[in-house]
């Protein structure tokens, strides 16, 4: 979900995605950065993103990932689901 959310703004390469998540989350989410790649491969398989080789700002050959229509739909679904669960949890916490 996080990756899809980051990609919603536009095509990004792997390092940039990791950096974005790192930054946006205020350095709270600090997972193994490499695990990004298996996740990206899965999304490629599902057809949520597409990949294309390009050149980065630092003049490196990197792969840019772009969100597809399917991916956008998936993001919306996941966000909704997340909100539903969060609301539920908040509800329980509130009554407790």
């Amino acid at each position: 979900m996080l990756i899809l959310r980051v990609l919603e703004a536009g095509p990004l390469h792997g390092y940039a995605i990791a950096g974005q998540i790192h930054q946006l989350s205020g350095r709270v989410l600090d997972a193994e950065e490499g695990s990004l790649y298996p996740a990206l491969q899965r999304m490629l398989m599902e057809g949520w993103v597409t990949a294309e080789w390009g050149v980065s700002d630092t003049k490196r050959r990197v792969r840019f990932y772009t969100l597809t229509k399917d991916g956008l739909g998936q993001l919306q679904r996941e966000v909704q689901e997340y909100q539903r669960v969060t609301l539920a949890i908040q509800g329980i916490l509130g009554t407790a």
């Binding site: 792997g14 390092y15 990791a18 600090d30 193994e32 950065e33 490499g34 695990s35 790649y37 298996p38 491969q41 899965r42 490629l44 398989m45 599902e46 057809g47 080789w53 630092t58 490196r60 050959r61 990197v62 792969r63």
Partner: protein, 847 residues
Amino acid sequence: MRKLFRRLSYFWNRRQAERDLADEMSAHREQLEPGRATAFGSALRLREESRDVWGFAWLDQLSQDLRYGVRSLAKSRGFTLAATLILTLGVGLNLTFFQLLNATTLQPIPLKDLATLVRFIHRAQGKGGNMTSSTVWVPTAEYVRDHNTILSAAIFEQTFDLAWGEDAAERVRASFVTVNWFEELGYGAALGRVFHATVDDSPSAAPGVVLSDRFWRTHLGADPAVVGATVRINNRPVAVIGVAPASFPGMRQQTTDLWLPMGQGVYFNSPVTAVNFYARVHSGLSAAAVREATRAPMAAALEQGLSTMPDSWLEPRFGTERFEPPNDARQRWSIAALVGGLTLLVLLVACANLSNLLLSRAMGRVLEFGMRTALGASRWRIVRQLLTECLLLACLGTVGGSVVAYGAGTWISRAAGDPMNFAPDWRTVSAAAGLALFTMFAVGFLPALKISRQDLTVSMKDGGQNASSGMDRTRLRQMLLGMQVAGSCLLLVLAGMALQSLQTVLASGPGFDFRRFAVMDVSLSRDQIEGAEAAAFWSNVKRNLQLLPQTESIALSGRAPLGDSSEMSMYRAAPGLSITNERVEADFFQAMRIPILAGRNFSADDAQGQNVILSRNLAVALFGSPSDAIGKIAPSRETVIGVAGDTNLARIIDPNSAQMYRPLRPEDLSRAILLVRARSDPSPLLTPIRQAARTADVRVLAGAHLMAADYEARLTVPRLVSNVGLMMALLALTLACLGVFGVVSYGAAMRTKEIGIRRALGASGNSVVAILLRQLIWPVVGGVVLGGSGAAALAKVLAGAPLYLTAFNATVFGFAIAFLAVTAAVAALLPALRALGRDPLEALRYE
């Protein structure tokens, strides 16, 4: 769908994908700040995870499993060979059966538009009497063809035996057909042309013949230049106009050699009188609708004198039902179910055996799997390894089974004289693969699960012996063995019954010395020789043949004993007896050496009377004893004047065959055939017989054959049944013996230590063998009881038509069980004695 596509494209470009991923990861790592170099994680592991996502990790593992499986199978050649053999035989047998079923029952007859193609059976029921006739009188058939609302075409056929060749020495089976025959059935010519309405339909048309592919090959050397050539049929010249395709099935079970247009019947001295009536009905009509629609034209035909039977109709039998009444289909299905059940039983025995074999093998590999588990293999991976090996075996079994099925099918179709095509096509090969796979996984799954459930690391410590001895105690192995014994016992008893029934038939024969007889086939009515002329012909022939030194006696009969046509009746007063109606002259009984047990033989005065002679069994069934029957009125309202000895003139394998003899009337003479009894070998009589007919009347073309040939033809099916049965039984027995052998030798191997200790403590050899054999008692006894009672139940079903396996008796039973016991004992003793022969100290040294 698109996902699958993407996955496949990744699979094709996997090297590229791997490289891309590696490049990408290294780029990422290079950009990391020096302090956070470890934040990326293990690139190797992550790449592995990605590969999982692409979905070909399993493929990698499969190819590993396959390579390893091939190596391990190649290493234990004995096991591989045994398993492949078992699978080959089991699958091959079932496949053979499937093919036979497919060819005879499942596949529709390959004719055009079967749904609208019918065969009409002439039936009548009412005041005029009841009747069922497979043929229809030509004037009736033609009237119905021209006056009906339901038919779009009528197709007639009548079959004759005609003389072939310059010397007219050979009989060939010829079908006179309407000229629309080939066109309506959906076949053209393979060579030349078939009949055309415009060319061949007038009686003045030049005579032409279409040959069957088989006849063209066997008699004309498959010469393509034969079209246009002139051949001689019934001593008349006729041009060959074409050759039918090899695939043309014709309409009947028997093979037709050639086809002639119906209009040419007179030219060949074979006027067509009554035909097999096939027709195209308008589509969508039900059987009842067709039947009712035939009543009116049939009644009109009767009124105009074109039919003789009141209250009659034409009963349609549809091509989609193989032109058969539903009863026949049901009977065939029940036979198919029975045979199919037996072949499945063999497969089951094979399965039990294989399962045993795999279990033993898996136990032997406890060490190997323990090692793999210790190195980190998951339980699922071990199971998969075992199943992969099953897959390999299944492949071998598929190939073997297909080959066996092809061979067996060809053999059967040759033995049955029915040309069927058994070349393996994709259907049979996939059926074989399905069977083999199913078998292998059915039997392979259990051992695989069992071994994986073991605590393999613990079992390693003991070299595999402890862990497996625990499993050995399970009943599974014994149950499997019991099943094998039961299956082979059942099949052995059945095969014994088939064999014994055949032996009985062979030993008792048909009740007369058929080997001494030659038969003159002739049809005087075809040459319009009737009445006094026929009588003169016969006395001339008889005189000529009597002069020959080889001739012992001569008799006229309405039909050839053991020949292919016979008229059967059944009477309620004599249940169970199928009675053939014979018309014979008085000399018949003397020539056939059939004794007159009571009463008298026919005399010249009987020819017009209402007198019959019964066979002994019929007389006993009706009146109690032969002498009581004389002078009584038979159920056919005729007077019994004599009782003759029992014979079997029609169906030699049917023990319930009885006869009713009536004298030959003058009008029967033109349809009679002549039986000639030789003093020794009748073969030298064949040529003089043909010549005698020619001398007596130059128009007559007679054929001659040995009665022994008819006898052999009648035995084809019982021989086939007993051979196939025996083959299946031996197969099952071999499998069961392998099972016994395996269980005992495996038991011995697992208990090497125990035996060693016992021996060292002074146990006698006998007691050790007894220990090893004790585990066999229950499976073998249970199996024999189960199989035997199964056979007893089946014996009732098989005693009737069409197999007449009557020999269900103690001898067969005892012999089958003794045979089973002896072979099982040998199979058990061999490994037991071998275990005994081992030095006990040698066995213990491993401790």
